[in-house]
């Protein structure tokens, strides 16, 4: 058996390298569109709220609106602005200026999508999506300047967290405390909110919002009637707007599986053909054929499983460290073990199929 080990060492190394390089490239391409689609949909797919209420909420009634839409809610003022860090600029950025009630964890940046940083920070914090963080070359702890008006000094905030989300129609998205941003506006500027996020069903909060004097205030601000949209409807809208359709994701997934399967079968077949002469020699010298074949194909399958798993990990690293895309969404991580198991099943299936044939061929010669 030592002779066999020595004879197959070089083919095993070649098998490992070929499978690792090929499967890395195939997995990188195979994950490309699923990752982009997940980024497009993550904001609503993993939302920490159930309904969005659109309207015009003047600052005078913000507290009353917050109380009316329920305890687990948040008011948002959606800005379109520009972010800067050093000489880099990212815009237009959809910036959510969130009310203090954000502390309850309801926002358009779902906790499940957090890539870096933490939920607690200084008073002057800003959360960025991965695309913005990549474009600005910043991470948690770095300063970012937010433009609050054409001729106004920017508001400097510190990056607190980075999230794998994307706004519909704009790659750059951010979230920061409203009170800090509003303080950067000129004195006397009316700064209110335009969006309420809540977990409370509309049947509960709409009657409260329709009562005077709240209703009168909303009507005066031309913010009534309110538009209520469920996150499921938002998710469907985001799926429609995404350029990475489910069909596209399925297509690329099927082609990637085909590519990796073709590579595994081809390389294992090459290995089997390369090792057959050495196995025949050992068999003629008295070595048992089944044991020889089991040893050879067992080693090959282990190496193949290691190489494809390594390829998957390298592809993951290419996304995780921003080489191919801005990030690898944490919500897609549970998919990796399944992909790994599926790719490991290929060499095992090949070995189970090829072993009896190889034994018969060896015994015949």
């Amino acid at each position: 058996m030592t002779v066999v080990h020595a004879a197959v060492r070089a083919p095993l190394v070649r098998l490992f390298l070929a499978l690792a390089v090929g499967s890395t490239l195939a997995f990188i391409l195979g994950l490309l569109y699923p990752v982009q689609r997940e980024l497009d949909l993550a904001r609503y797919e993993h939302a920490s709220y159930s309904y969005e209420v659109e309207g015009v909420f003047p600052p005078t009634v913000s507290a009353a609106i917050g109380a009316a839409v329920g305890p687990r809610s948040c008011l948002v003022s959606v800005w379109v602005t520009v972010l800067r860090h050093a000489a880099r600029e990212e815009g237009p950025t959809e910036l959510d200026a969130v009310s203090p009630s954000y502390a309850q964890g309801v926002s358009r940046f779902p906790p499940a999508t957090r890539l870096a940083g933490h939920s607690a920070g200084s008073r002057r914090w800003i959360d960025l999506n991965a695309d913005s963080a990549r474009a600005l070359h910043v991470g948690p702890g770095d300063p970012v300047d937010v433009q609050v008006g054409p001729d106004l000094p920017p508001v400097r905030l510190t990056v607190r967290g980075v999230y794998a989300v994307r706004a519909t129609g704009a790659a750059a998205a951010a979230m920061a405390p409203a009170e800090v941003l509003f303080a950067g506006l000129p004195a006397g500027a009316q700064a209110g909110y335009g969006l309420a996020l809540t977990r409370t069903p509309p049947a509960e909060f709409l009657p409260r919002l329709s009562q005077d004097p709240l209703k009168r205030s909303l009507e005066a601000a031309k913010g009534y009637p309110l538009v209520v949209t469920a996150t499921s409807a938002r998710l469907a809208g985001a799926a429609d707007a995404s350029t990475h359709s489910l069909g596209l994701v399925r297509t690329v997934g099927a082609l990637a599986v085909l590519g990796v399967a073709g590579l595994v079968v081809r390389e294992l077949d090459v290995f089997r053909r390369q090792c057959l002469p050495a196995a025949q020699l050992v068999h003629r010298l008295g070595g048992p054929a089944p044991r020889l074949i089991a040893t050879l194909l067992g080693m090959a399958s282990l190496v193949a499983v290691g190489a494809t798993t390594g390829g998957l990990l390298l592809a993951y690293a290419a996304y995780r460290f921003g080489v191919v895309a801005s990030c690898f969404p944490p919500t897609l991580r549970p998919l990796l073990p399944w992909v790994s198991l599926s790719s490991a099943a290929l060499p095992l299936a090949y070995v189970v199929t090829a072993a009896p044939l190889a034994c018969r061929r060896l015994a015949l010669r």
Partner: protein, 358 residues
């Protein structure tokens, strides 16, 4: 040297395993399909828009209403939707369209010089792009239903298809929108509620002049490639990774063939056959497999994209991708063959240079 070629290659060919060749072809088709898919999908909008623009004949173009009238004026109306004709043969499919409208007597045939894929230019029907026609499965003479959901009082109008035009995506990068070209009189007759509606955009074309403020055809195409159709670092990265995957497949097939034919190559070498003849055989077989593999993979990728998504890939883009993969294969085979020859020469020169010690 030629007198050696035929017997040497015939001897090598006898040692080729048909199973191994089929297996390698399978690998190339699988790797190539993934690479082709990535390249086809990411470059689709840019390719279609560029080919459409190349097919048109004009000297200059201006968006918006020009100070002086051009040779051809087209009014663009967005928000149109097309569905299959009455009878719903093609199910509930719809396509968002931009309708380009021209006035009677406008020299549309001059403008469309190389952009007509089939049929003829008409005033009483519509000219539709190839992707939209394929989406509904309509051919020349078939009928389409169009309507404007945002236009009050507009009901669907059934129009006849008289020409199929090059694919163009009016909204650039997404590449999901189609277009129709029709005469104003025909449009108003089909959709009376349309009369007097202001266009969303206006395009003017000059055939033999370039007035100030207009863009030349070259500038329009450069604009498409620069940004309009979504060219970016990500697109280039995808194309490069796809090319890398294909290169990897070619190298593996070339290496496999070379190792598989090592023994007959040595025997033939000792019998006096020239090494370039033998290397040429491996290269030729690899390139042959690459030619079949690239065509099969691009066809597989196109079939999958068009079967599983709502996107359309033109046959011209398939040809460009197949040719691109084939040229890349040739370059890879030449590079690895030269690298292999240099390595062998160095190995042969080594005993002489070191006095027989390695």
């Amino acid at each position: 040297m030629t007198h050696q070629l035929r017997p040497a290659w015939a001897a090598l060919a006898r040692h080729l395993s048909a199973t191994a060749a089929l297996r390698d072809l399978g690998l190339l088709a699988a790797m190539g399909a993934l690479a082709s898919f990535a390249i086809l999908f990411t470059t689709r909008a840019a390719f279609d828009d560029t080919m459409h623009e190349l097919g048109l004949r004009y000297e200059a173009r201006m968006l918006g209403v020009p100070a002086a009238a051009g040779d051809l004026r087209l009014d663009a109306y967005d928000s149109a939707v097309a569905a299959s004709a009455a009878g719903a043969v093609h199910g509930g499919r719809t396509v968002d369209l931009t309708v380009l409208v021209f006035d009677d007597g406008a020299p549309v045939s001059t403008w469309l010089a190389g952009a007509v894929r089939g049929g003829h230019i008409c005033r009483d029907g519509v000219m539709v792009d190839e992707a939209t026609a394929a989406r509904f499965g309509v051919r020349l003479g078939d009928r389409l239903t169009i309507w404007w959901p945002d236009l009050p009082g507009s009901s669907g109008a059934v129009v006849r298809v008289c020409a199929i035009l090059d694919v163009w995506h009016p909204e650039g990068a997404l590449g999901t929108r189609g277009y129709l070209l029709m005469a104003r009189a025909g449009l108003v007759a089909a959709v009376p509620a349309f009369n007097g509606t202001a266009p969303d955009d206006t395009m003017s074309y000059w055939f033999r002049a370039r007035p100030p403020g207009s863009e030349s055809k070259f500038a329009v195409i450069a604009g498409i490639l620069a940004d309009q159709a979504g060219w970016s670092t990500a697109v280039l990265a995808v194309v490069l990774i796809g090319a890398g995957l294909w290169t990897f497949g070619i190298v593996r097939v070339w290496t496999g063939l070379r190792h598989g034919l090592e023994t007959p190559r040595r025997v033939l070498g000792h019998l006096g056959a020239q090494p370039p003849l033998l290397a040429g055989f491996v290269g030729t077989v690899t390139v042959g497999l690459a030619a079949v593999g690239s065509a099969a993979s691009a066809a597989l990728a196109r079939t999958t994209i068009m079967g599983w998504t709502d996107l359309y890939i033109t046959s011209r883009q398939i040809v460009v991708v197949v040719v691109g993969l084939f040229v890349l294969s040739m370059a890879v085979v030449l590079t690895v063959s030269r690298g292999g020859s240099r390595w062998r020469r160095r190995q042969q020169a080594l005993p002489a240079a070191t006095g027989g010690r390695r």
